[in-house]
């Protein structure tokens, strides 16, 4: 397969209860904290990269890993930054997220190999969506789901080469 240009930068962060004494990942490091996470091939190391020494509890769905936080089973849930933002946006009285995140990674679409015209078309569409005419749509979606208002892209000198 081949990949398009990136459309998002995901990372792992911690979701806390709104009244939690913690604010950053460092607050939980080597403090005997329990951290929930969705089961995945690198669950343990993913948590330990951000919160060394934490006890890791894995769950078979993101919803249950958040439920573990709701029920006080864990001190924090390690979760995708976007999902954390979405949860905080939905219930700001209930959750807050760590001020930092770790393991940033690039999200792009995969397309079938060998069709450069199709790849160019998707890249152009994504590009316009991120910094072009369709930016308002991306900005609105970002605000709706993540509760974050993106600054509009600058005119003049191309943003890609700044």
């Amino acid at each position: 397969m081949e990949f398009t240009i990136p459309y998002y930068r995901e990372a792992v962060t911690l979701l806390f209860k709104a009244d939690s004494p913690y604010t950053t990942t460092a607050d939980l490091a080597d403090a005997g904290a329990k951290v929930a996470i969705l089961e995945n091939p690198t669950a343990e190391s993913m948590v330990h990269n951000g919160v060394p020494g934490a006890e890791v509890l894995t769950f078979d769905s993101v919803a249950n890993s958040v439920l573990a936080l709701d029920s006080g089973r864990v001190d924090a849930t390690a979760i995708d930054l976007s999902t954390a933002q979405y949860n905080v946006k939905l219930a700001p009285d209930k959750y807050k997220m760590a001020t930092d995140s770790w393991q940033p990674q690039t999200y792009a679409f995969a397309v079938a190999p060998g069709d450069q015209r199709w790849l160019n078309w998707v890249n152009t569409a994504l590009h316009e969506y991120l910094v072009g005419l369709d930016f308002a749509y991306y900005q609105a979606a970002y605000l709706t789901h993540f509760g974050v208002e993106l600054p509009p892209p600058a005119a003049g000198f191309p943003v890609e080469y700044k």
């Binding site: 089961e39 091939p41 769950f59 078979d60 573990a68 709701d70 029920s71 006080g72 089973r73």
Partner: protein, 230 residues
């Protein structure tokens, strides 16, 4: 073509065995506590007093109609939310159980409902002759239950009890959902980590099968030892 790679299973053999041992412990405590609940419920169900009969019947019908996974979620996720919203933190801390204990309580309450019906059938099958004989010796109430009904009933229900134990042993697999590292949790983890689906589940399946068969043989030996015909 799928290339088997059994090494991943053997490298995790200690994890599998620990998972199996934990599953057996969950099933054992589930059966023990469930039997106590089942026995009390069965006597309540067969009581002449409606205020004993009614809650016992409600318990059996409710639990039999609810999936075990839901009970596990209720005790693991639901109970702490309820406890911390309702009681002072010190009392709530006392009420909230860890993953293993939550699984045991859920299994006990689940098994208790089924065992209650098994024990009830056992109680009803005890011939009136024996009860009359007991009464003629001056027994009544608890004494009659303890020395006449229970011993006779126990022999009759033992095969069903074996069945429940084996069933419960396999039901412990649902504890994976609350991060209890029993056998299914270990298999899922290996599957997730290595993508060795067939190897992971074959190993877990074989361990469940062999252990269930071993339990069946052991229980059959017990049944033979105390066989007794009425």
């Amino acid at each position: 073509m799928y290339d088997f790679e059994w090494g991943v299973v053997f490298r995790q053999s200690d994890q599998f065995l620990r998972g199996l041992w934990l599953a057996l412990q969950l099933a054992f405590f589930g059966l023990a506590i469930g039997s106590a609940i089942g026995l009390l419920t069965a006597f309540a169900r067969t009581s002449a007093r409606w205020y004993l009969r009614a809650p016992a019947t409600a318990y059996v019908e409710f639990i039999r109609g609810v999936p075990l996974l839901l009970l596990i979620f209720i005790f693991y996720f639901g109970l702490p939310i309820f406890a911390y919203n309702t009681f002072r933190p010190q009392i709530a801390d006392f009420l909230v159980l860890d993953g293993e204990a939550s699984a045991i309580i859920a299994l006990s309450i689940y098994a208790g409902a089924y065992l209650a019906e098994i024990f009830r059938a056992g109680i009803l099958s005890v011939s009136g002759r024996y009860l009359d004989a007991g009464r003629s010796l001056g027994l009544s109430g608890f004494g009659l239950a303890r020395y006449v009904t229970l011993p006779i009933m126990f022999r009759g229900v033992l095969p069903s009890l074996s069945n429940t134990f084996i069933s419960l042993f396999k039901d412990t697999s649902l504890a994976f959902a609350i991060s209890v590292p029993e056998l299914t949790f270990v298999a899922r983890k290996l599957n997730t980590d290595t993508f060795r689906t067939i190897e992971a589940w074959t190993a877990a399946g074989a361990l469940y099968l062999v252990t269930s068969y071993g339990l069946a043989l052991a229980m059959r030996a017990v049944e033979r030892r105390i066989r007794w015909t009425v």
